[in-house]
Subunit: 445 residues, 2 copies
């Protein structure tokens, strides 16, 4: 029989334990944070009717769509994001769900992109949204969730950049270049990367605005958003445009609300120059940058949109939300050495080296596990040295070493696999506490 | 603009919060239990090269496969189970992983089955396996994990049925009908459902065995597995067949090991008649039945197999594992009224009815959340009654009610939404403990 070559498709990848464990941990933390704000989980199918998916993103997303004809001769596609399925979901179930409706959704999506380094054709999205309200409370809550998420994931030095699209819209209206907004904002979004001069040039080249118009847009970057005369500064360039004023008012409410909820001012930055490119945002927008790795880009972004489900229902469903960039965050955590280097989810290892004592090992493991401590028993009675080598390779923290003599004497050696120190402990099935205490104290150290 | 009808594909479904919350909880419990035994998570792509997937199950699975040609002109398919991808994964990475290797994998799979009630084309599988060892320790550990899983999910009255395929194989060898084993075992698997007479008839009709041969197989059901003379009883029908004896020996080791690890005898049943139909098992096999709902079928099944990855590698990878039937278990939990009827993951609700106090509400919520208690703030300053109606509909447990006067007086009303009882509590941002204590005590009751 000829063997089939075991391989994954280009652009796809397997997750081995040492990579999957921190991924799973991050997703668990995200779920806990979402829930603590009252966001509820939903799920939708990986496959949708093709008509639900096409024409929702750009021509590019349509090209990247995995699509085919199924056994029932239906045209179907694999979801390429979680927003379009959520729009379909909301339109279909909103009467049952009621508003406001807060949901999170953590699930894989697929895009047949051209393969390139660091880009995958299958990746996890991690979205949360509040729909059915235009309230500032929901706007404030979005960066509150981002802030809690980042802290829970172990980050302390980060900044949430906040803008309101209406400041930009108002300014472009005032300058009479609203019809060029897509190209102007696309250029503006590159400010941090390429600098003001190149952005001004691009605005003139692609959007056809004048140099003075481009410079007027770039003047947003010069505004001191922390000064008391913010309105006055803004009026100088927007000429008291009402839309821009609404944007600035919302930004100030957001800053106050975030402070009231305990978010340090050092982690919030009003940034009138972020635009979130081609996206469909209409109000507040967010990006989150790590102080230590700004170049990695925003790790959590989102904003307010006018009407989630307009392609599917006449019901008006405004909303606000954001998406955690799981892969980018994990890459950052690895780069910042925030990830433990282990390949086992259990901290304790029991070598099974005394062939006649299997039941005693199983009992010992059950006692440790009942105390809430994960423990693996090696399945074969190999030599102790060989088993300890396995334990080191996997990254176990402790080994509980006992053979026939120790079981008879009611003792056990607790070996710290990090510094190789050992402690002998007296224990029995009826009185396991001394052993459990020794394990707990070593695991804590 | 004409609207697109919001609908899911036939055989697929959306999960709304009230259904998704218990699903997520069950998967979290499963992960915790798997990890506590040292099983590590992995993930594999939803899409595989078609050649990896075809010809691995039956003709039926091939027909049900969602397959297509991708943008790079590759023949690809969506995984229909987690076992075939695990075989491919193991063959590809085993040198890096080392053995024994213990993994769990919780992920969706897709089968384009004929639609029928209760059968879906997308469902979650929840598998755990130990590969690279033939040890009895790994065999014993599998029902140990099942036992811990069931307890952690809240079940107490269940039985894990255990058999060893070698008992059946040995008996069929002794009877000279080994070549008919597939059809004989397929009939035998129906014993609990259709009774001995019909099984005997089916064995004669489909496998062409004689009535006395059929009755000899069915005599397995008559053996008293708890009696001291188990070997003697068995020898009477297997004629001291060595394979059958190995099977019985393993079953007795398993029973002892499970007892040593604290599994009550009442939850373990040696059952010489379970066969797990057409599966590829070669040693121990498991099925798990709920005492209260035996008709729902086995909720957790598995067994030992000879060589996981033989289609992909020459390396010999024997293993043992099982699969938790998540959908079946959730259906059982619903039928047994084990699921809480809530649509919010946060227990506490803060109505925002005093328009001028948004920041105070946000601060209050942050304080409660910092104590580890989930809390949702209603996003719009609607009438209190309307907000409390929303809270009742979602299933919140408590509401924290305060307006301008209460915030000034440093008080807050803690309202139990179940019995409508209220308590007024004095609190401040510096001294939130009285409020937190009142919330905790009401949540516990």
């Amino acid at each position: 029989m000829s063997l089939i070559t075991p391989r994954t498709l280009r652009g796809f990848r397997d997750y081995l334990p040492e990579v999957m464990m921190p991924r799973e941990r991050c997703m668990e933390i995200a779920r806990e944070v979402f829930r603590s704000f009252g966001f509820a989980p939903i799920d939708t199918p990986a496959l949708e009717y093709l008509e639900v998916l096409t024409g929702k993103g750009s021509d590019e997303t349509d090209r990247q769509l995995y699509q085919f004809t199924d056994q029932g001769n239906r045209q179907v596609g694999m979801r390429f994001d979680l927003t379009v399925p959520f729009a379909r979901f909301a339109a279909q179930h909103i009467n049952e769900l009621g508003t406001p409706f807060k949901r999170y959704h953590i699930a894989p999506v697929w895009r047949g992109e051209k393969s390139q380094a660091g880009r995958y054709r299958e990746f996890i999205q991690c979205d949360f949204d509040t729909i059915g309200t235009q309230s500032v409370a929901a706007d404030i809550e979005t960066p509150l969730v981002i802030h809690s998420l980042m802290l829970a994931l172990g980050f302390e030095a980060f900044k949430i950049h906040i803008n309101d699209r209406r400041v930009l819209t108002g300014l472009l209206e005032h300058l009479g270049i609203a019809e060029h907004s897509v190209l102007v904002l696309r250029a503006l979004d590159k400010l941090a990367k390429i600098g003001a001069d190149k952005v001004a040039q691009e605005m003139q080249d692609t959007a056809g605005v004048s140099e003075s118009q481009a410079r007027a847009v770039l003047a947003l970057a010069e505004i001191d958003v922390d000064a008391d005369d913010l309105y006055a500064q803004l009026s100088k360039i927007t000429g008291e445009n009402a839309t821009a004023a609404l944007g600035i008012e919302r930004l100030q409410q957001m800053r106050e609300g975030l402070a009231a909820a305990g978010v340090p001012a050092s982690r919030v930055k009003l940034d009138l120059t972020i635009a979130r490119g081609l996206d469909y945002y209409t109000g507040v927008i967010f990006e989150t940058f790590l102080d230590a790795l700004p170049s990695i880009g925003s790790v959590c972004s989102g904003g307010r949109y006018d009407n989630l489900a307009e392609l599917f229902t006449k019901q008006h469903l405004p909303g606000v939300g954001a998406s955690l960039g799981l892969d980018r965050l994990l890459a950052a955590m690895e780069q910042l050495e925030m990830l433990p280097q282990v390949r086992t989810p259990a901290p304790v290892f029991i070598p099974y080296f005394d062939k006649g004592q299997l039941n005693a090992y199983l009992q010992l493991a059950a006692i440790v596990r009942a105390a809430g401590i994960g423990v693996e028993v090696f399945p074969e009675p190999k030599k102790l040295g060989q088993q300890l080598k396995y334990a080191d390779g996997r990254g176990f923290t402790l080994a509980l070493i006992a053979g026939n003599q120790e079981f008879e004497a009611g003792t056990c050696q607790v070996k710290d696999l990090r510094d190789k120190s050992t402690t002998d402990v007296q224990w029995s099935a009826d009185q396991p506490e001394p052993l459990l205490d020794a394990i707990r104290s070593k695991l804590k150290s």
